[in-house]
């Protein structure tokens, strides 16, 4: 499959094209991290992050390829790994305690939100995640989820978001978040 075809498929939210790309460049991309003091897990994570950044940009129509996809991914992986190495370097021992506390609090809230997302129905989850993460337009969501039209998708999205807000509020009183 040529780069142009892959990009077109990815832009339409074709997850099979994403899998194809992942498999195709896996060894080349993970080698960047593995050859620079990174572990196999770190290498995989960096590559996946790069690929998902590519996915989001392609769907949002913000990606103009001036090089091969592999070159683009390579540079993203390289930058991500450099940032990670910087973060590791700056993560001094003295900051560790405070960071851990803040991180714990944040993670706890994130865990609850994640729990509530899981309680949503499958369509709701898809509508919201396609909208917020993938950046798919309402018409694309409608097509992808076989909804009647764009307006149906919009209404669905509004209702699902409201439902999620309520689920979260039920689990925590307003003071838990607003204090």
């Amino acid at each position: 499959m040529k780069d142009r075809e892959v990009l077109e498929k990815v832009s339409n939210g074709d997850e099979a094209a994403l899998e194809y790309l992942y498999k195709k460049h896996y060894r080349m991309m993970t080698r960047i991290v593995l050859n620079n003091n990174g572990s196999e897990d770190e290498a995989k994570d960096v590559y996946q992050e790069a690929l998902l950044a590519f996915w989001q940009k392609a769907i949002a129509g913000k990606l103009v390829l001036t090089s091969k996809i592999s070159t683009y991914l390579y540079s993203v992986c390289l930058n991500l790994w450099r940032k990670e190495l910087d973060r590791k370097g700056k993560f001094a021992e003295s900051d560790k305690e405070e960071y851990t506390y803040q991180e714990f609090d944040k993670r706890e809230r994130a865990r609850i939100i994640n729990e509530c997302i899981n309680e949503l129905g499958d369509t709701c989850r898809k509508v919201l995640t396609y909208h917020y993460f993938d950046g798919l337009s309402m018409s694309d969501i409608a097509k992808k989820l076989n909804l009647a039209n764009t307006d149906t998708a919009k209404t669905k999205k509004y209702k699902c978001k409201k439902k999620l807000d309520l689920l979260i509020k039920r689990k925590y009183s307003a003071s838990d978040f607003l204090d």
């Binding site: 997850e15 994403l18 899998e19 992942y22 498999k23 896996y26 060894r27 995989k44 996946q48 690929l51 998902l52 996915w55 809230r109 994130a110 939100i113 994640n114 997302i117 989850r125 919201l128 995640t129 396609y130 917020y132 993460f133 993938d134 978001k161 999620l164 807000d165 979260i168 307003a174 978040f177 607003l178």
Partner: protein, 298 residues
């Protein structure tokens, strides 16, 4: 609509990029002054981030389920047994290489010693070294170059002698050699030439049976008077029926010279000629005189 619902609506509009420039400016200003709005904004931001993370995890899980192993070479190079095998192979190669490399310095070259052995009438020890002085008590063996010129009895003796030499691993020593400066003497006196020739003829020997040159006459219309020497065999191209031809072979310590005699003329046979070459007549009177003497003597 409660104030909180209004906050949620505003925040969602802002997060989804639904505000105009001025609305956005007012909202951001309000965020700094209204703690409730700020709290709701952070809360909504966390929900959006939560949804993003959820989808990211979903996609990553999907990618993680794809089997992406190293290639065949990668698998082989990573396996412990292949690593061990590669170490063993490398060690063997290095060992063998070292053995041959250092052995080439310590072991005398077979070619050199075989050459010496074939020429000297003594045996070297098996290891190729000798602490004894070289015994130069070799013997001469005069032989003609053409077997038909040798009487049957003589031939038998020569063959017997050579067989014995072979059996003993020895070869009769043949003495040198036409001096290379023969032709540089431009005005030699006839007497001097005769003396040189006689002296040389005494020391020269003809071709031994080992070096006997085989001859084959090849009929080829393209070549009238040519020859080719290949693997101690002389191929004559052309018609040579006018008179009998002779080969004069002069063996020396280091080289062998061949001359072709035909119809009263001598021709030099160059041994390194593998291609068909014309027979070139020898014009030098001194060489001709010497060859005449050698020819008559044998």
């Amino acid at each position: 609509m409660s104030i909180q619902s209004e906050y949620i609506r505003l925040v969602n509009k802002y997060l989804e990029g639904g505000m105009t420039g001025s609305e956005q400016y007012i909202f951001e200003d309000q965020l700094t002054s209204d703690p409730l709005l700020k709290a709701e904004f952070e809360h909504q931001n966390e929900i959006v981030n939560g949804l993003k993370e959820f989808r990211k995890t979903q996609l990553k899980t999907r990618l993680n389920n794809i089997t992406v192993g190293p290639g065949i070479i990668g698998v082989l190079s990573q396996s412990a047994s292949m690593k061990t095998l590669s170490y063993v192979v490398t060690s063997v190669l290095v060992g063998a290489g070292s053995y041959y490399y250092f052995n080439s310095y310590t072991k005398p070259k077979a070619v050199h010693f075989s050459a010496v052995e074939s020429r000297l009438d003594f045996l070297l020890p098996e290891n190729g070294y000798s602490t004894k002085a070289v015994d130069l008590n070799y013997k001469y063996n005069q032989k003609t170059n053409l077997s038909e010129w040798i009487s049957a009895e003589e031939k038998e003796n020569i063959e017997e002698s050579n067989d014995q030499a072979i059996n003993r691993g020895l070869v009769d020593f043949s003495v040198p050699e036409v001096h290379d400066n023969v032709s540089t003497d431009l005005t030699p006196e006839p007497d001097q030439i005769l003396e040189k020739a006689v002296a040389r003829s005494k020391s020269f020997v003809g071709a031994g049976e080992f070096n006997k040159v085989d001859i084959e006459n090849v009929v080829n219309n393209r070549y009238k008077f040519h020859y080719r020497l290949d693997n101690n065999k002389l191929y004559l191209y052309g018609k040579f029926e006018a008179s009998p031809y002779e080969i004069i072979e002069i063996n020396s310590f280091q080289s062998k010279k061949l001359f072709f005699y035909y119809n009263g003329n001598y021709f030099k046979l160059n041994q390194n000629v593998n291609d068909i070459s014309p027979l070139l007549k020898i014009e030098n009177p001194e060489i001709i005189t010497e060859l005449n003497i050698l020819k008559k003597r044998n």
